[in-house]
Every structure is written in structure tokens, then in C-alpha cells.
Symmetry: C2
Subunit: 717 residues, 2 copies
């Protein structure tokens, strides 16, 4: 929905046969940012970005290396300069806020390489929260099809900033973040993590985008990309000499990066800048740089809270696979001759247990992993026909479960693990989605664990980037919502494809089922990095923190307090949220579980109350179309106290606040399960005192008070 009207100021400068030495500049609507474009010697295009009068990105070159045609590096003259500005608002289908303001000034520079009779447009959009820019290749006689070898966009910084980074990798983003000065980046050493997906680390100096930076004088800078489509993901190479970052695209088997056909454009390259870390999280620039929804009637797209048969496999309580054989061929498979291992998770009976639990506690849906044949030897074997997505194990009765779930008013979430065999998935996608609809499934969790087939393609290359979008587009044809695991990192495409509810694309809670798990700081960095691109299916809500399901792992545990698990539902935004633990474990702590039952998934408003990457985050959100608010606060491995004015609340009401806090003795390693639950009356004048244990958190629900509440409850003091 557009409330504003574009205001176009076009300055058309025909500067033929003239080298331009003076810069072309624009400023952001609020005047704080300044972007200038300049051709330097040999007609090389460059840009600079300043904030409050000081440079943030020093002179940085813009270049594209190509194969069959001359590269777009130098020899440019300016043909035309166009400027314009936009001020509009729009409403996301699902989101952190009801309305999003899209306001920027734009500079579009049409460059010409006379030597090759070729044009290139560089388009800059300067917002009040930073810069987005991209390369555009218009239709022209001398350029139709061309192959990109790499993109060489520079982001030259002003100092040796502190960086929150993970290694550049063509396949994998499930890493823990490291916090080092840029000059100390070494991406091939000492990286954590069990390899469950393919891993293709690029070089010691390569990091992934988004990268979060903090300058010595306290400026926060986030460098990323928006609207990644028909193009590979961008990694960043650290240039220690220039103290800058240089883009590097994910290649394919032929060492090509992208195949383009005019008119073509790159994704937007983004630089979000803020004096307060919280303002980085408030930025909606990534969404603003994406295209509006292509789904005209999104009424079938709903936020979903779900439980599922999943965590119990991670902790060793049950198995995805039905049998302990390791040699399955889908064609001609006869399960009569295969002996079950007796530990299969996705049985009809076990699924009914989850359906009953979901129905009782008001969950929308139940996910079941390991329901379909093929898990015996699904991974790491370069096998192409791993799953067919339509054949259940003999102990999983799809029709009966459809009937049972419908009777109980619960939806089922399908699981499609591709194991990276995407040619196989694409061949079977229509039959898989048809099967889903035939059995009443409206949502799918898809997975891309393992190396990609087509062999030689990577998870983050152009071919796979196109696949993810193709999968979501085809799902939309079937009115299916998608939760994608192990895809390329999101770049705001959920605006365009709102049925793309969430993605994983980072190290989620599952790693905490395996020693040593995600340290507390991980969840304070994720919003500044991975979540800049879109919702994450992090799957919080672990209540049985000791992983003593099996004898050999009885000393392991999730590095968290219980109260923190609740807070994550607010601090990690997603319209799709799992209560990841087993029903049995929730039933032991139904008082704390109440928060997960209550918490909303879709929001009118979001306030980043406090934030510092690697240290803490406190967020409050107002439920979409309701007066209730929810607050989540987490800290790193250090205890933390804070005083939070509840000024965001409606001044005309009293609210009942239910505070789920770490007990005074709580500690994420030593005493993780100690929590307190207290209820108060609060107003927007209340100042809430938070006391977070080391590795802990606090979750609070606020609902307008009833007369009865006001009689029974005390005001918070």
C-alpha cells in the first residue's frame, strides 16, 4: 500500500566525451547521510558514504568481471545523472511492525564505455538508516547474454573496526560468530561446529555477509545485500592493506559466478549505519529494497506456532530412520523384509501424542520429521534418489493422521529433506506438493543438508538461489507456506514471497543438542547478522536443559537458563515459532510453558529497548491488532541488571505483567532450570528492573488488566 507519492527531480546531464572529475552527491532525507559518486582516473567508478559529516565508507571502487565480454571496470564516462526521492509506507503481510516507511533519495548514474559502446547504470538509494546500491545492465545492442566471473565492489572502511563475523563459505552458514578486529580475521582457523551441511570455506580472509561492525568511536555498521535473486550470494574478502571489504561471489563448477541476460541487475549492496546498536535492528532498509509481494491474495498465509517430532531425535530419544540398515534403493523397496530398529520417532502413535498436546495447548501445527522412507542412508553419499517425498514409513499412517489432526483442529507441517539432491527434489516437487494438499498439509519445512546435486553447484550459488525462489513460487501455486533449512541466507525476499515464512540459514538451537552448544552471546549477535535478512526458525523453547536422555550424553546440557528460552520467542523474530522440546518436558513445567502458549507471532509494533551485539538485547513487541505486548531480554555469559521504563505501553491502561525471570541463583551452566514467575499490575510509568543470570533472560507478557486483576494484583514497585 502506497501512502506517499514519488517526487521525481530529474537532472539530465549529457556529458558526452567528457571525463567527470567532480563528484555527484545526494543526501539522505534527514540530511545525516551523504553519498557521492565519482569517476576517478581511467574512468573507474567509485562511491563514498558519510554519516554526520564523517566518512563511513571511503572512496571505494565498483567493478564487475566478465567472461565473454569486456569487464565493467574502467573506461567509463557519465552519460546521464538522474535523481529522485520516494516517501511512502507499505504494510507487510506478516512482520515486526504494521507499517513500514520507505523513504530515500536516489541517484542513478548511467555510465557509458565508449570503447565497447556499452552502458551500465549504478543506482544508489540513500535512506535515513543508510545506503543501498546496485548495478543495472539495461537492454542494449552490445550486451545481451554475459557471464560474470566475479563482482569487485569495495567497502573501504575508516579503521580497524570490531567485526562480528563467520567464515566466508560457499555452502554453509551454521557457524558461531567470532568477534575480532577486522585485521585479525582468520577464517580458516579454529572454527567451531559439527559439519552437518556441506562446508566450503573460501579463504582465510573471506567472511560472510551480513557482517556487523563497530568502529572505535562507537558507530555501528552493517554490510549486507538485499533482494538476492538470479545471482550468487556475496561473500566479503578482508583487505588488510586498505582496511576494507571486497565482494566475492559464489562460483559454480565452471568457476563462473552468474549468467545474466539484459535487462539484468545485481542485488542491492547495503550499508546500514547507526549511532545506537538498537537502530541497526530497527532498520527496514533490507525489506524496503525488496519488491512488493507477488501474492495478490495472501489470506492463506498465517503465522504458526508449532510443536514437532524433531528435538527428540537430536537428543537421541528416537531416530529419523526406521531401520538400521544403510543401503536403501527407493525403486522396488519392500519394507516387509526390513527390520525396524524400534526407535523410530515418526510413528502414528507418537504423532498423535504431539497432536493431542498441540490441540490441548492451542498450537497451530505439528511437524513430523523422519516420516518418509530414505533416512537410513540419506546423507553424505552423493546419492541422488534419496527421498521421494510421498512414501511414508510403514509405521506412519498419513491418512489416519490427517483425520486425527483435523478432528483435533490441528494442522500438520510436512517435512521435505532434500539432502542437497535438488535435481531429485525438483523432479518430484509437483507430486510432493500435490501429496501434501491431498493430505491437508499447508506448510512445509524443507531441508538442504549435504552437498548439492547438481554436483559442482553450491548452496549459495546462482543456481541454488534460483532454486529456493522456484520452490517458494511453486509452493505459492499450491498455497503452501515454506520454512527453509540450510538455504542461502535470507535477504528480505519474504516481502516478495510472504509464504516464505522463515528460514534457518544459521546455527540454530539444534547445535545446543550437541556439545558444547551455542554460547549465550550467539543469540545476541544473530539479530545483527543473520536476522537482518529475515525471520529465523531458530526453534527455541528447550525446557529439559540436561541432555540426559542417553547414558553416554548424560553430562551434556544446553547452555541456557530456562527463562532465556522464553525470551528468545521475542528477541528472535519469526512468524513461525517452534516449541522445540518434547511434550513430556513441557508438561512438567506448565507454568513456564504458559509464556510460549501466550506469546504472539505477528506484530503491530516493535521496540528495540536495549541492544549491544555480543552482549545483550531487550525487545518489546505489540501483538498485531491487539493491545498485548511481549518483552524478551537476554544477556551473554555475564549477569545483567537493567531498568526498563515501560513507556511503550498505552498510557490509558493498566496491564497485567507476567514476568518469567531467572531465579536469583540461576546460571546457564551451574543452575539453568531455576526460574521465577511473578504477576504485577504495571502502567507506562512503571520502570521494570530486570535481573538476568549469566547466560540468562527474562520474558514478560503484558495484557490489559481486567477489573478483577486490578482488585487481585499488586502494582509493580
Amino acid at each position: 500500500m502506497r501512502n506517499g507519492r514519488p517526487i521525481v527531480n530529474s537532472i539530465l546531464l549529457m556529458l558526452l566525451f567528457a571525463a567527470i572529475s567532480q563528484a555527484q552527491s545526494i543526501v539522505s532525507p534527514d540530511g545525516r547521510f551523504s553519498l557521492s559518486f565519482k569517476l576517478i582516473e581511467n574512468g573507474i567508478p567509485t562511491y563514498q558514504l558519510s554519516f554526520n559529516g564523517a566518512p563511513v565508507i571511503r572512496e571505494s571502487r565498483l567493478a564487475i568481471e566478465t567472461k565473454e565480454v569486456p569487464s565493467f571496470i574502467d573506461g567509463f564516462s557519465i552519460e546521464t545523472i538522474d535523481t529522485s526521492s520516494i516517501d511512502e509506507t507499505w504494510e507487510p503481510v506478516l512482520g515486526e511492525v504494521k507499517q513500514i516507511k520507505n523513504m530515500y533519495c536516489e541517484l542513478a548514474v548511467t555510465l557509458i564505455q565508449y570503447q565497447h559502446n556499452r552502458k551500465l547504470i549504478l543506482r544508489f538509494r540513500l535512506f535515513n538508516d543508510g545506503l543501498g546500491f546496485r548495478y543495472e545492465f539495461p537492454v542494449q545492442p552490445a550486451l545481451t547474454y554475459f557471464t560474470l566471473l566475479d563482482e569487485r565492489t569495495e567497502f573501504n572502511l575508516t579503521g580497524d573496526h570490531t567485526a562480528f563475523w563467520i567464515p566466508g563459505d560457499y555452502d554453509m552458514n551454521e557457524y558461531l560468530y567470532r568477534t575480532t578486529p577486522l585485521s585479525r580475521v582468520d577464517a580458516t582457523k579454529g572454527m567451531s561446529g559439527k559439519e552437518i551441511a556441506a562446508r566450503t570455506v573460501i579463504s582465510p580472509i573471506a567472511v560472510q555477509s551480513p557482517i556487523m561492525l563497530k568502529s572505535a568511536d562507537g558507530l555501528y555498521i552493517n554490510i549486507f545485500e538485499a533482494a538476492l535473486s538470479d545471482y550468487p550470494a556475496m561473500n566479503l574478502m578482508v583487505d588488510f592493506g586498505k582496511m576494507g571489504l571486497l565482494s566475492h561471489l559464489v562460483p559454480n563448477a565452471l568457476d563462473h559466478s552468474a549468467y545474466l541476460q539484459t535487462p539484468a541487475k545485481t542485488p542491492w549492496r547495503t550499508v546500514i549505519v547507526a549511532q545506537r546498536a538498537a537502530d541497526i535492528l530497527t532498520s527496514k532498509m533490507i525489506l524496503n529494497l525488496n519488491e512488493p509481494s507477488v501474492i495478490r491474495d495472501p489470506s492463506w498465509i498465517k503465522p504458526m506456532k508449532y510443536v514437532g517430532i524433531w528435538w527428540e531425535m537430536h537428543v537421541g530419544w528416537s531416530t529419523w530412520r526406521y531401520a538400521d540398515t544403510n543401503n536403501i534403493k527407493l525403486k522396488g523397496l519392500d519394507w516387509k523384509h526390513i527390520i525396524p530398529n524400534g526407535k523410530h520417532g515418526a510413528t502414528t502413535e507418537r504423532t498423535k501424542r504431539y497432536i493431542d498436546f498441540a490441540a490441548k495447548h492451542g498450537f497451530d501445527a505439528v511437524l513430523v520429521e523422519g516420516w518418509n522412507v530414505g533416512w537410513e542412508d540419506w546423507f553424505g553419499k552423493w546419492k541422488e534418489d534419496v527421498f521421494d517425498f510421498v512414501t511414508p514409513y510403514p509405521d506412519f499412517d498419513v491418512a489416519e493422521l490427517q483425520r486425527y489432526a483435523r478432528e483435533k483442529g490441528v494442522k500438520m507441517i510436512m517435512h521435505h529433506e532434500t539432502s542437497g539432491s535438488v535435481t531429485n527434489y525438483e523432479r518430484r516437487m509437483d507430486s510432493a506438493y500435490s501429496f501434501m494438499k491431498a493430505y491437508g498439509y499447508d506448510a512445509v519445512k524443507s531441508g538442504y543438508v549435504g552437498k548439492i546435486i547438481p554436483r559442482g553447484e553450491y548452496h549459495d550459488g546462482q543456481w541454488m538461489v534460483n532454486h529456493y525462489i522456484r520452490a517458494v513460487e511453486k509452493a505459492a501455486e499450491y498455497k503452501i507456506m515454506v520454512d527453509m533449512h540450510e538455504p542461502v541466507r535470507p535477504t528480505g525476499l519474504q516481502r516478495t514471497y510472504p509464504n516464505w515464512l522463515a528460514s534457518e540459514a544459521a546455527r540454530g538451537m539444534e547445535y545446543s543438542a550437541w556439545n558444547p552448544g551455542n554460547p549465550p552471546e550467539h543469540e545476541t549477535i544473530l539479530p545483527f547478522t543473520r536476522l537482518m535478512g529475515g525471520p529465523m526458525d531458530y526453534t527455541p523453547g528447550i525446557f529439559r536443559i540436561k541432555l540426559d536422555y542417553t547414558e553416554q550424553r548424560k553430562k551434556e546440557h544446553v547452555p541456557t537458563t530456562l527463562a532465556r528460552q522464553l525470551a528468545l520467542y521475542v528477541t528472535l523474530y519469526s512468524p513461525l515459532q517452534m516449541a522445540a522440546d518434547l511434550p513430556e518436558n513441557y508438561e512438567e513445567k506448565l507454568d513456564a510453558f504458559q509464556f510460549i502458549k501466550d506469546v504472539s507471532l505477528d506484530w503491530d509494533d516493535t521496540r528495540i529497548l536495549e541492544a549491544e551485539p555480543g552482549e545483550y538485547i531487550t525487545i518489546a513487541r505489540k501483538t498485531k491488532n491487539k493491545e498485548s505486548w511481549f518483552l524478551g531480554a537476554i544477556t551473554d555469559e555475564n549477569a545483567r541488571t537493567a531498568s526498563l521504563p515501560l513507556s511503550f505501553l498505552d498510557p490509558n491502561r493498566n496491564y497485567v505483567a507476567v514476568v518469567y525471570a531467572d531465579a536469583p541463583t540461576a546460571h546457564y551452566l551451574k543452575n539453568p532450570s531455576a526460574y521465577t514467575i511473578t504477576k504485577y499490575l504495571v502502567t507506562n510509568n512503571t520502570v521494570l528492573r530486570l535481573k538476568l543470570a549469566p547466560g540468562g533472560g527474562t520474558a514478560v507478557s503484558f495484557v490489559p488488566a481486567t477489573v478483577q486483576n486490578e482488585q487481585q494484583l499488586k502494582h509493580y514497585k
Copy 2:
């Protein structure tokens, strides 16, 4: 259909912990061939093949190189030896003969590598026409999934034989044959041919299989493979030192050759040996080594004679493309804004012209190429979404043509050019085949011109080998017959998939639409090489031999005589035959065209009357379930005379022979279009004198004479 019963003589020798030095041998049913297997030093498996007491293949090693597991090269002991024999006959759905005899002695050697606790079976089948053998990997604890780097099967020969060869190539088989001693093979120099498909020449010493050899003492040897499935094609590297050939498999982007899962097997490696060249062509060993048909009811599979909109594009009379733009995007394509070039071939009107012609002359079907959008920029651009296979050009009315063709009793043949973008084709295959059935198409000509997507795969690698079979299997689900162009060379799989009517997979007639065309010897070599694996859609029948359709090509012409074009319908076996020329050109020579109308496509019997690769071939075939015979004779660039006893004819009948011969002055370069047509009465005592012009041929039809014929016609003298 099995008429015989297997006779099994099993000799089970448990020879544990013992190295075997004596050879294990079998002889062919007729005693002429002897195959011996032996482990040599270090437990290396070898085989030898003798014919009439003299070696044909000297001691040759058998080895497989693997990646994750130890290679299968040495350290073997013999565990068991099994011998058996088979004598049976079966009937192909379509074929050169009504019944095929399958008779062989088999030696199966189970080898064990004690060091790795691993088994390998080498299975040899010795027929009266030569040897087939393969590697088998049974299910076993120490071997489930493994990656092949290469296969190193040796074929060590007894001398510097004359070889008829084309370069080893991972993508392409559209070459002219070279005839040199093996020691003179140089596959990277001086190769002819316009590159219409991708070309990936391997090395100077690599040649393709099948390779045809002739020894100094006149023995004919054909080395090839049968039943290529889930495995890459085999090329052969010439070992000048050993004077042998060494297998080399087509790799993929990762330099892997094949991914196998036990139980697994390689295709059969074949050595066909004969004293007469004709007996090489008579061999049915390749078919016998393939599996029986998987199609239970093949009643919908029919031979087809067709005309089509195709040659007129090759000669420049019309175009595949509708417009002369070079930048089409399927998504959002609006043809209203695109100006037609006025030369588009596949118009509704032009198609009706072909339908009328086909109906009038009794053809089964009409092929139309260039009917669907995408031809403007279909090739050589690494474009993935080239065609959607369901969107006709605006001037091609699919529904109207369905109606018109049905009314005229003619079938339409669909065309699916993938341009090598196989990921795109696989995604759209169901909708493409559904579209065909909706519009009454029962057969598809598919094409794979260009480099393969998935990028890094080759036409002849394992992934594509599996694709071709997948396409044919899916076509069978829709009861669709397939004519495949630019696939891997056939290896007899038409026995298993009889809806796979024909393939191109070699340099066909289309090259003669472009200077300098296929020299006459090409068609005398094809039956000894490419056609050993299965029918070829060569598309003969060119009547307008001068290519004077356009001013710039008016001096070009097809290197053939007209009579030769008729003979090719008999000498190049296929149940799918095109009359490739334009209706207008046939209408000018309806007398000669009568042979194409008359000639059969499916046969009770085939007699190779004379044959010498590179020189001449004369074949007679008896129509399936009818008494008529057809004869074709062709020569190389030299004139040829021959006396042919017609002893194959039924001794109890007179026949009318219509002889379509080169005129006395005919010459494939100087006077190609001069032909004579004469009619005689003949019997099985007649000796027909053939007189073939340089580059010429003779075609003869024989039908049982009527009383009227016997009164009106003279006996041949």
C-alpha cells in the same frame, strides 16, 4: 519370449587363501571362441580372447579406480567359479529380424580382496559372435556406496589394425570417421565438422566406442558396450606401446565418473569378431546383453514414417525462429510487441501443407520443429529457461492442427529441443508430455544441442545417461514414443525400452545441408559403428540435391546420388524413418518417391549380402508379416558393380522387382540426380547386376507378382 531353457552347469570351486595361476576358460557354443581368465602376479585379474585358435585380445587387465574405498586393481584371489550356458530365442517389439537367438556360455568369477574383505564378480558371456563381460559389485558389508574415478579395462590387440574411429569426446559424436592404422590415431587434429552440439575432445589418443577394427589378416573386430545405464559412456585410449585400447569413462564436474550403490554393475564390454564384415552387422550380441522389455503391453509402439518441417530450415528456406530478435525471456513474454521475420517455418498453413502431403502419400506422421517460443536465442548462451515446451508461436495453432491432422488421419510428432538445459526440461517434462497427450501427439523428437545444464555435466556422463533413460521411462508412462537427438550413443537399450524408437547420436543427413556434407563412405561406416547400438534417425530422402535455395549457397549440394538416398532407407536400419525433403521436391519426382512410400520399417528378416566398412554395403530385408522384400546397396566415392543372387526370395514365387538405380552417367558430385526406374519379374534364381555410380546406390522393392504382372512384365536377364 523364451523358447529355450537355460542349461546350468555350475562348477563351484572354493579356493580360499590360494593364488590361482592356471587360467579358467570357456569356449563359445560353436567352439570357435575361447575366453580365458587368469589372475597374474599380485592378484591382478586378466582375460584373453581367441578366435579359431588365434588370439584376438591378448592378456588384458581388468581394473576399476575408486575414490573413498580402495581401488579394484590387485590383491585378488578367486573365491568361486561358476559356469553356465543359455540357448533361447526372443522377439523384439520392432526390429531387423522377427526372432533373436540368445546363446552363450558364461563364466562368472567371484574374486575376493582379503585385505579389504571385499568381493567383485567378473561375468563373461561367450557367444558365437564374440564376448561380453562386465564387473559386478554385490551387496557386502565392506562396500555400499562408492565413487568411481575411472575404469581401466584393457583390450590389448594383436597388431596395428586398421581402425574406423572418431575422436573420444565427452559431449559429441557428430564426427566423420577416419580410417587409419591404430598407431596413427590423432584425435585432436584435422577433425571435420561444424560444432552444433558441445564438443569436448579428450586427448589425441582417445577414440569413441564403438570402434571398428580390421586386422592385417582380414579379421573384423568391433569393440563397444551394451546396456549403458547408471554409468558413464566408455571412451577408449589408444596405447601405442601395447597396441591396445584402454577404457576411459566420461567424468563430471568433480572429476568423478560414477556413483555406485551395491548391488551395482558396469555395462557389458563387448568384442564382436567375424571373418566376414557382414557378420559384424548380423550380430545381435548387443541386444542380447540388454534386459528384456519393461513395457508389458507394447501395442501402442509402432514404426513410423514421417515428413516434417525441418530440412527447409537447414537449407535456409525458412527459420526455426519467429522473430529476428536475440533476447527472449519466457516469463512475461508478449509476442504482440515482437515483429515476425516473415520466414518462420512452423506456421499453421505450412504445417497443413505437410499434413496434406503426408495424408496423400500414406505417411504416418508429421514432425514440426520451431513450433514453440524460444528459438530466437536458444543456443550457446548458458541460458537455462530456454523453452517451456507448451507455448506455441502466435502463428502456430496447436488445436486447429490437431483437428486437421486427425481429420486427415495423420499423427503429429512433437519436438522438444532442450538445448542442453536438462534441469529445465526435467522440471517441465510432465507438463510437456501432458500437453502432447492433450493435443494428440504420441511421439516426441527430443534434442540436446549445446552444453549441458547442470553445468559441468557432459552429454555422455552418468547423470545424463540416467536422464535419457528417465525421459524414456516417463514417456512410456504417457505412452509416448521417443526419437532422441544428440544423446549418448545407443547401446541396445531399445530392447528394454522399445518406445525408444531411434536416436541420432552421430553425424546425420543434416550435415549434408551444410558444405561439404557427409562423404559417401560415411554411410558405409555408420552400420559398423554407431548403428551397432541401435536405430538411427539419419533422415535420408533428399531429392533436391542442389542446395540452391538461397543465393549465397547456390553452389552447394548434398554429396549423393538420388538413387542412393532411396537405398539408405534399407541400409540404415530404423523403425522410424523420415522423408526429409520438402513436399515440393518430392512432388517433382513422384516416380522415385514411390520407393520411400513403399519401403517397410519393421522386418521379419535381414540379410547382409555384402559389406565392407568404408566401401560398400548391400542389405536385403523382408517386411514384417509380409512377403515383400526391400534391398539397398550403397558404395563409397568409387563406382561399383556387383552380381547379387536373389536366393533369399521365396523359391515358390515370382516377384516384381522395381529397381531404382543410378543412371549410367550418374555421379555424386557431377551428375547426382540422374536415376532410372525399371520393373522386372524376378525369382530366387535371378542374379541381379548392380551398377552403382561413384557415391551412388541402388534401391529395389520386391513384391509377389500378380497374374497381371506376370503377363505384362519381362523377366530380369
